[in-house]
């Protein structure tokens, strides 16, 4: 096992552990902070795998923008407790997805390890940010436009939902009350 290999397994362990902790926390704040850890580790993994630009974006967008947005929302709403289940029912709630996930994992394991080429250790390589940027704008300029458009639509949608939330919520509540 090379040094780089050792670093990979270390990062993988960190990612898996942090994610597992994050997804089982009751307190939402804790969950988000663990997930930020996992994303930092993922960023380093990207760097290791020769993708510095995605690594930087992982930090900036995932850990930076998205997770911070989550934090803001959680603080805004003042929800501290993410508890969402009865302790008695915990098994009934967790068992089907975990079982299904385990089964899928077993099947996927076989599928992933089956091809012979997958056994070879990958070489070191690096795509510099400049190269990748030129490549993206050269080959996928239409996709970039589409994503920018999607972001704009998301912005508009978020604005609409947030702005009209008060009135729409009120009328919807009235309607609900009337129906009930």
């Amino acid at each position: 096992m090379t040094l780089y290999g050792a670093i990979f397994y270390l990062l993988a362990a960190i990612i898996l552990a942090a994610t597992a902790l994050a997804l089982t926390r009751r307190a939402l704040m804790h969950a988000v902070v663990y997930l930020v850890n996992a994303f930092f580790a993922t960023a380093m993994l990207f760097y290791l795998l020769g993708a510095p630009l995605p690594a930087a974006f992982e930090v900036i967008i995932y850990a930076g923008a998205i997770m911070v947005l989550f934090l803001f929302i959680i603080m805004l709403m003042g929800v501290k407790d993410g508890r969402d289940m009865d302790a008695k029912k915990a098994l009934a709630v967790w068992l089907p997805p975990v079982f299904l996930g385990a089964a899928t994992l077993a099947a996927g394991w076989v599928l992933i390890t089956a091809p012979a080429g997958a056994k070879e250790a990958l070489p070191m390589a690096r795509a510099t940010p400049a190269e990748l940027g030129r490549f993206v704008f050269d080959r996928y300029w239409l996709g970039v436009e589409a994503v920018s458009f999607l972001l704009f639509a998301g912005l508009a949608g978020a604005l609409f939902l947030g702005k009209s939330g008060d009135e729409a919520g009120k009328t919807a509540k009235d309607g609900q009350g009337g129906a009930a």
Binding site: L100, A103, T104, A107, L111
Partner: protein, 630 residues
């Protein structure tokens, strides 16, 4: 020539279009002038066309219409003396009826609609008259059917009148089926629908095909011309305004069937069987309808039955191979019958919608002498009193029938002669009862409404023609020039000569039949007859009931066609539609509803359930891939 014919067709169409689009915005005098001017101009165009192409046959292309595969229909005009004379007659009678209508419809609010339909009718009638292509002719054929329907039901607020219009439309459609099959057969055998093409290649037809075509054409003509067995619509068609009855149901449209047979006479002439069938239809109808006319009390119904009977004579003339005689009677009949109808219309209107001849009496004659005189002229022609036009035209047909020879045609002649006696009888029954003596029943009102003078006086040309149109074709033994025969000699099939029987003897016999009929009418209904005996026969008597109802033909159709059809419809609705089709669809619906109710439980509304199915799908995909890879 082309411009002339285009104008002839376009003017009535233009009038109809303008009236349809702008009619409601134009003032009443404007509408009336426009409609009349269009028809009078068309009359002038028809006259100049006839003068310009005297005795010639021309194929004048107007528009290409459509063509598909080997089939092509173009709006061409086959102009020969037959169509030329027919066009002049149609436009002439139409023009007089338009002017008369101005007076007749003076109190009606829907004048724009009325004149629009009337103009449109003239256009379609001219299409029938002039068309070279059978498909184009069929356009006019259906068009006049539509206008007839619209004008019979003109006063649509009255349900009975709209029903009469519907009946006429449906009954004539039965005949159109024959026309369509005939067209298909023409195209299948000769590959063309052009009249000129058909006549040019008529010798290629086998006798069997010609018989089939002849019978199909007869079927079509029977529907349009209200002959047996499709005649029941015409008496009911009298629900329309009287000038409409005069134009459509006396002078022009009902003779369209006869005209079609004349146009395609060379095809008929190939088959003796078809000609005999035409003769049978004509002779039986002539006799049948004149009996029925005897039993009527409604003045318009008498005239309607007499129209059926007179058109029967035209069929008989064609069957005898006498195209000229048929055309001659068609023209004479158009003049005197439209005159009679409009005279009847004047009487009806003056007597406040009184149709019953037994409520009229001498007051009508004394109040409106010109109307009586005109009506009398028409009656003379209808009864074939020499020397009125009907005498010569009907005589020509009877002469041709008798000289055709053979037992069958002698029988036809006998039937026609009997019908001639009856014609004189019912005509003068009508004249005597409606214009002489005291009414047998008290009228609803003794008041007689004065009519606009022009409405009566515009009929004088028709009166003169009713009396003198015999001069169109005076037989040789009356030192006549036979002008019409001479004019029509270039029309295919119209050059027949008749020999073997003395024309003079037949003419004298006709005069004798007429005299017998007149004598009977005088004895039974004459002014000298005691008023008590002049009244209508006991309506409950079987013979009278049969006559009045046209031998119960309507009831017969109701029993044999309508009732089984309704029963079948009821069966189809109850058993087939509701029992089978509906039930099948309903049970299918129930099945789907049950399935949906079961599937509904899957939709818990919980996001987690939906996500679980996603994961389930992923597991399934992995499992499938694994199974395939392994």
């Amino acid at each position: 020539m082309q411009a002339n014919l285009s104008l002839l067709l376009a003017l009535p169409l233009f009038g109809a279009l303008v009236l349809a689009l702008l009619g409601r915005r134009l003032s009443r005098p404007m509408v009336e002038r426009l409609a009349c001017a269009a028809i009078i101009a068309a009359f002038i165009a028809a006259l100049t066309a006839l003068a310009g192409a005297w005795g010639e046959t021309r194929l004048v292309p107007l528009f290409p219409w459509f063509s598909a595969g080997g089939f092509s229909a173009s709006m061409d005009v086959l102009y020969d003396p037959l169509s030329g004379i027919m066009a002049v007659m149609v436009t002439f009678v139409s023009a007089i009826i338009h002017i008369h209508s101005v007076g007749y419809m003076r109190g009606d609010e829907s004048y724009a609609r009325y004149f629009c339909y009337l103009n449109l009718f003239v256009f379609f009638m001219l299409v029938i008259t002039l068309a070279d292509n059978l498909a184009f002719l069929f356009l006019g054929w259906e068009g006049v059917g539509f206008c007839s329907y619209a004008l019979i039901g003109f006063w649509f607020a009255d349900a009975e009148r709209t029903l009469a219009g519907r009946k006429a439309f449906v009954m004539t459609r039965i005949g159109d089926v024959g026309f369509l099959i005939a067209m298909a057969l023409f195209f299948a055998t000769l590959g063309t629908l052009s009249l000129s093409g058909i006549i040019a290649s008529v010798s290629a037809l086998s006798v069997g095909t010609a018989t089939a075509l002849g019978l199909l054409l007869l079927w079509a003509a029977v529907g349009k011309s209200a002959q047996l067995p499709l005649l029941v619509w015409l008496p009911d068609a009298m629900a329309g305004p009287t000038p409409v009855s005069a134009l459509i149901h006396a002078a022009t449209m009902v003779t369209a069937g006869v005209y079609l047979l004349m146009r395609l006479f060379p095809v008929l002439a190939l088959s003796q069987a078809a000609l005999a069938a035409v003769g049978a239809v004509g002779a039986v109808t002539a006799l049948f309808a004149s009996f029925s006319a005897l039993g009527q009390r409604d003045i318009k119904r008498i005239l309607a039955w007499s129209t059926i009977s007179q058109v029967g004579y035209m069929f008989l003339g064609i069957a005898a191979g006498d195209l000229c005689g048929g055309m001659f009677h068609l023209l004479a009949h158009a003049f005197f019958k439209s005159l009679l109808f409009m005279g009847a219309g004047c009487v009806i209107q003056a007597l406040h919608e009184e149709h019953d001849i037994f409520r009229m009496g001498s007051r009508v004659r004394t109040a409106m002498p010109p109307v009586f005189l005109l009506f009398f002229l028409g009656a003379l022609a209808l009864a074939a009193v020499p020397p009125a036009s009907g005498y010569f035209s009907k005589g020509r047909i009877l002469y041709a029938t008798l000289s055709h020879g053979g037992g069958l045609f002698t029988l036809y002649w006998a039937m026609g002669s009997l019908a001639a006696i009856l014609t004189a009888l019912y005509t003068f029954r009508l004249v005597f009862v409606a214009f002489f003596g005291d009414p047998a029943f008290p009228p609803k009102t003794w008041d007689i409404e004065p009519l606009p003078r022009f409405m009566i006086h515009v009929l004088w040309p028709l009166g003169a023609l009713a009396l003198l149109a015999g001069g169109l074709n005076l037989p040789g033994n009356f030192s006549g020039a036979e002008w019409l025969s001479h004019a029509l000699r270039t029309v295919p099939g119209a050059d027949a000569e008749f020999h073997g029987v003395s024309e003079l003897a037949v003419s004298l016999a006709d005069a004798g039949f007429c005299a017998v009929g007149l004598f009977l009418a005088w004895m039974l209904y004459g002014p000298r007859t005691a008023p008590g005996r002049r009244g209508p026969a006991d309506p409950e008597r079987f013979a009278h009931r049969m006559l009045r109802s046209g031998f119960g033909l309507d009831a017969l159709y109701r029993k044999t066609v309508l009732t089984p059809f309704l029963a079948l419809s009821g069966f189809m609705r109850r058993v087939v539609d509701e029992g089978a089709v509906d039930a099948a669809f309903m049970s299918q619906g129930v099945l789907w509803a049950r399935t949906s109710m079961a599937a509904r439980r899957l939709a818990t509304g919980r996001t987690s359930t939906y996500l679980l199915t996603f994961l389930l799908g992923l597991a399934a995909i992995c499992a499938v891939l694994l199974a395939k890879g392994a």
